[in-house]
C-alpha cells in the first residue's frame, strides 16, 4: 500500500507551482518514453519518483487556490488554473504508467524502436567518447537548441541519472546522454558525442 504523508501548507506562489508542474509533466513524458525505448529500469524508477513530486505539487496547488479565492469572480478565474494543473498531473500519471511497464518487467515489443524512429520528435542515447567536442563543455555553452534543434533531457554518470541537467552542468567523458529533438538533429548529436563528427554541420 502506498503511504501518504501529510503535506503542510506553505505559501508558495501559484505561478511557481504551475511552472514546475508544466516543466515536470513534459519532461516526464520524454523520460518515460526513453525508459521504454532503452529498456532502462533506473530511469523508469526516476520517472515514478517524479510522479510523486507532481502529486505533492498538485496538493499544494489545490490548497493555494482555495486560499486565494475571495469571491465568486476569483473562483471563476482560478478554476482555469486548477484545471490546467490537474491536466499536468494527469499527464505525469500517464508518464508514470509508461515507466511502470518497464519496472514491472512487462517486455517492450521490439517494434517499439521502430515506432520511435518514425515519430516527429525523436529520442536518442549517446555515449561521450574520447575526442568528442562535447567533453568538458557546459551544456549552456553548447546552444544545442539553436544549432541542432535538440535538448539534453538526462545524463547518466557513475550509475546515477542526472535528470533535466541545468545549463551549468559540465559534460564528461563516458557520460551517457539522452537527447530529444528533430530527427536530423539527434542523429548529428549522436555523431558529435561519439566523436565521428568533428564540427557541427550547423556551424555554417
Amino acid at each position: 500500500m502506498p503511504r501518504f504523508e501529510k503535506i503542510e501548507y506553505k505559501p508558495i506562489p501559484v505561478s511557481d507551482l504551475m511552472l514546475e508542474m508544466k516543466n515536470l509533466s513534459e519532461l516526464m513524458i520524454d523520460l518515460a518514453y526513453s525508459a521504454a525505448l532503452f529498456n532502462d529500469k533506473e530511469l523508469a524508477e526516476d520517472v515514478i519518483e517524479l510522479e510523486a513530486r507532481v502529486d505533492t505539487l498538485a496538493y499544494l496547488m489545490d490548497m493555494e487556490i482555495m486560499v486565494a479565492a475571495r469571491d465568486a469572480k476569483d473562483a471563476e478565474a482560478l478554476i482555469g488554473i486548477s484545471t490546467v494543473a490537474a491536466a499536468t498531473d494527469k499527464i505525469s500519471d500517464a508518464a508514470a504508467d509508461i515507466a511502470a511497464i518497464v519496472t514491472r518487467n512487462i517486455n517492450i515489443h521490439p517494434l517499439v524502436s521502430e515506432i520511435f524512429e518514425k515519430t516527429e520528435k525523436q529520442l536518442t542515447k549517446a555515449t561521450v567518447k574520447e575526442g568528442s567536442l562535447l567533453v568538458g563543455k557546459l551544456i549552456g555553452d553548447l546552444d544545442l537548441a539553436a544549432l541542432m534543434g535538440v535538448d539534453i533531457i538526462a545524463i547518466r554518470r557513475n550509475k546515477d541519472w542526472i535528470i533535466d541537467p541545468k545549463d551549468s552542468e559540465r559534460i564528461f567523458l563516458n557520460d551517457v546522454l539522452i537527447t530529444r529533438g528533430a530527427p536530423q538533429g539527434v542523429k548529428d548529436f549522436k555523431k558529435l558525442a561519439e566523436a565521428s563528427l568533428l564540427t557541427t554541420e550547423a556551424q555554417k
Binding site: K22, K118, M148, G149, A182
Partner: protein, 197 residues
C-alpha cells in the same frame, strides 16, 4: 492481412497516437496563451480523432495472431497506447478552459512563457529566408528546436503540412525549447521589420 503488414499497421497507428497526443499538448498550451478558441477547437477535434485511432489500434493488436512469447511485448505496446490516450484527454481538458469563455488567468500565460518548453509566435517578413519555402524545406525545427504548429494567414489558422508554403505576412505559432525562441523570431523576421503585439 499478412503478419508483416499487421506489424506495419500497428507501428503506423502507434506513431500517429504518440505524435498526435504531444501535438495536442502543444496546441492546448498555445490556445491558453493566445486565448484562442480556434486552437482550442482544434484540440477537441484531435481528441475525437485520437479516441477513434486508439480503438482501432487496440483492435488491431488484439486480433493479431502472435506467438505466446510475443504477447507480453504486445501488452507493453497496448499500455503505451492507453497512456497516449490519457495524455490526449489531459490536453482536451486544458483546451476546455479556453472554450468556457473565461480569459485564462495571467498565471497560466506566465507559466507557459517561462517554461522550459514554451510557445511563441513570430511574423514572417519579406527578408526572411523562410519565404516561399515549404515547411519541410524551411527546417525550422532543425535550426531552432521550435516546431511550427499553426500558421495564421488572413485571419485564419491553418495546420501546416510538410508541403505547406510559407508566405510573407504569415504568423507562425511554434512550440519548443525556450532557448530557441530568439532564433525562431530572427529566422522569421531577421530585421524585426514586423512584430506582433
Amino acid at each position: 492481412m499478412s503478419e508483416q503488414g499487421r506489424f506495419e499497421e500497428i507501428v503506423a497507428r502507434m506513431v500517429e497516437l504518440k505524435d498526435t497526443s504531444e501535438l495536442m499538448i502543444d496546441l492546448a498550451y498555445s490556445a491558453l496563451m493566445l486565448n484562442s478558441r480556434e486552437l482550442a477547437d482544434e484540440v477537441q477535434k484531435l481528441e475525437e480523432y485520437v479516441d477513434k485511432m486508439h480503438t482501432e489500434f487496440e483492435l488491431l493488436a488484439l486480433t493479431s495472431e502472435f506467438k505466446k512469447e510475443e504477447a507480453s511485448g504486445l501488452l507493453g505496446l497496448i499500455q503505451i497506447g492507453v497512456a497516449t490516450e490519457q495524455i490526449a484527454d489531459a490536453a482536451a481538458e486544458m483546451a476546455e478552459v479556453v472554450l468556457r469563455g473565461v480569459e485564462p488567468h495571467p498565471v497560466l500565460t506566465l507559466a507557459i512563457k517561462e517554461a522550459e518548453e514554451t510557445v511563441a509566435q513570430a511574423c514572417v517578413s519579406a527578408d526572411s529566408p523562410l519565404v516561399n519555402k515549404t515547411l519541410k524545406e524551411a527546417r525550422v525545427d532543425e535550426d531552432t528546436g521550435m516546431w511550427v504548429l499553426v500558421i495564421k494567414r488572413g485571419g485564419k489558422s491553418l495546420r501546416p503540412k510538410g508541403d505547406t508554403r510559407i508566405q510573407v505576412g504569415d504568423i507562425l505559432v511554434a512550440s519548443g525549447y525556450s532557448e530557441g525562441v530568439d532564433d525562431f523570431r530572427k529566422l522569421s523576421s531577421p530585421e524585426e521589420t514586423c512584430t506582433i503585439e
